[in-house]
Symmetry: C2
Subunit: 133 residues, 2 copies
Amino acid sequence: MLIRVDPSDPLPLHEQLARGIRASIIDGRLAGGERLPAARDLAASVGVNMHTVLHAYRRLRDEGLIELHRGRGAVVLVRLGGHGALAGAIHDLVDEAKARDIGEPALLALISEAYRWAPGAPPTGVRRPPTTR
Amino acid sequence: MLIRVDPSDPLPLHEQLARGIRASIIDGRLAGGERLPAARDLAASVGVNMHTVLHAYRRLRDEGLIELHRGRGAVVLVRLGGHGALAGAIHDLVDEAKARDIGEPALLALISEAYRWAPGAPPTGVRRPPTTR
DNA sequence: CGAGTTGTGCGCATAAAGATAGAACAATAC
DNA sequence: GTATTGTTCTATCTTTATGCGCACAACTCG
């Protein structure tokens, strides 16, 4: 868990934290079942407030990447065939977008648009398994 | 150009405008080369400030969807084989994500992450053709 | 050219978000 | 039981975002 944050970065601290952890989870540096450091600890080691870390944790929970429990801490979810299966498709799409010189904000906007049109599961908001709260 | 905005919507007005126009461009209701209404006009017809409309226009320009020039107005870019070709891939990805019960914020986060890793064109920021400024 | 059009820049007021702090609390693990 | 750890609540402060009004500069077109 080597994470650094840059207060001068326009990106919010909690988002920087979330990114770092998210990246570690996706590429496997953090295995499923593994436990993240306690919010207080990570906060102290990184030099931010505990609430800021918890903000990031909560975000990752809402994204379905980790589990969060009182007294138990934050644990990386296993998600068999979950994000892993999507990774390929995402990678291809990003390559395609870059080849066409489409910037990140544009791509995100297009996808966000597509998400709103397409029929399917969550019409709005985020899905939180009842066991998580 | 039938666009409505809802001030009670938590989404910023300029974002609501950008979405409406973006959607029209992507699905072809607004053809390449077509000109958008002058910011003042659209602002008046929708009931917001001119700057709010221009904010949306500027965003769409940064996304590479339109061109913006003083005295000339906002014109939809043609982008042959541009976004159109991506549409399929995006649609598939969104379907896949919804099937796996992955919410929009989570999907966007994953893609944003992938964008940062992958090698390719714009490392950061946005691409603006010199002719546009 | 000259008048009309249209986006741009500057400044300002208010709202929202970000970050921190402290305290008390409720599950959980040992 | 005790220590741990996320949760909830209140509060304060700073920064950023949002939206607006006015004057300006570049462009178009007759």
